[in-house]
Amino acid sequence: MSESVARQLWSCTRQGEAAAYERLFALQIEPLLVYIRLRLGAGLAAKIEPQDVLQEVYLAAHRSFAQFEYTGKAAFFRWLCRLADNRLRDWHDHFAARKRQAVEIPRSAPTGPVTALGRAEDRQRIEQALQRLEPDHRWVLLLRYFEGLSNEAAAERMQRTPGATRKLTARALVALGKALGKKP
């Protein structure tokens, strides 16, 4: 399989191409907002704008970009999700007290109108279906697919056994499939 566009952009960025950096970040915006909205949950969503979280995450990513290595599938996106998770975990304690620093967010990746619309519909459908799941089902899928954690790492975060987490993931996928209402 050919190298993904994101990985190519990352390579170019490492060689100092500013345009590649912009495009790489732009590709992540909409899917990352899906993650942030799902991760915020009802409690925090009333207090925090997803765009503010996005801005914080991009600032953190900008600062530590040199330490990021493109290792596997959707590695950059998953790294951003983990950064977002870190920001959200201590949001209440730190964010309000901190002086916010503006960071320019690139616009979403430019694509043709039909493709862009199709992608937006797909994202919305998945987001709504995930939103309807039981909290633990949603959480395990965010950990495994979005943050890219292994079963063991997810188990540790959820304070469950790896076996229980594996079963929970399977049940969460079945529930999500039904919520999407579409069998292959």
Binding site: M1, A6, L32, T111, T115, R123, K167, L173, K183
Partner: protein, 85 residues
């Protein structure tokens, strides 16, 4: 659904000393889980610019007497075109 089962089992991680879980034993549940897995994978593919890759892929050389109408589908291994001879 054997490919689906294999890929899902790989995703779920090793069975760790627990009795074999029954969740994906039923074919219907396997199909639901597979649909969800594919949808999540498609979302992840968006973040890698999968569609841009397809858009930017140069068209291969076709025999002179073939007229290409459109792309029918594409995957990791290649692109399928509808053509008339």
């Amino acid at each position: 659904m054997s490919d689906a089962r294999t890929e899902l089992e790989a995703m779920l991680g090793p069975a760790v000393g627990e009795p074999v879980h029954a969740t994906l034993e039923c074919e219907e549940d396997l199909a639901w889980a597979w649909a969800a897995h594919r949808a999540l994978e498609a979302l992840l593919a968006q973040t890698e610019g999968a569609e841009e890759l397809v858009a930017e892929r140069p068209r291969p050389a076709f025999p002179a007497d073939y007229e290409i109408e459109r792309v029918i589908g594409e995957g990791g291994m290649g692109v399928v075109y509808l053509a008339h001879q």
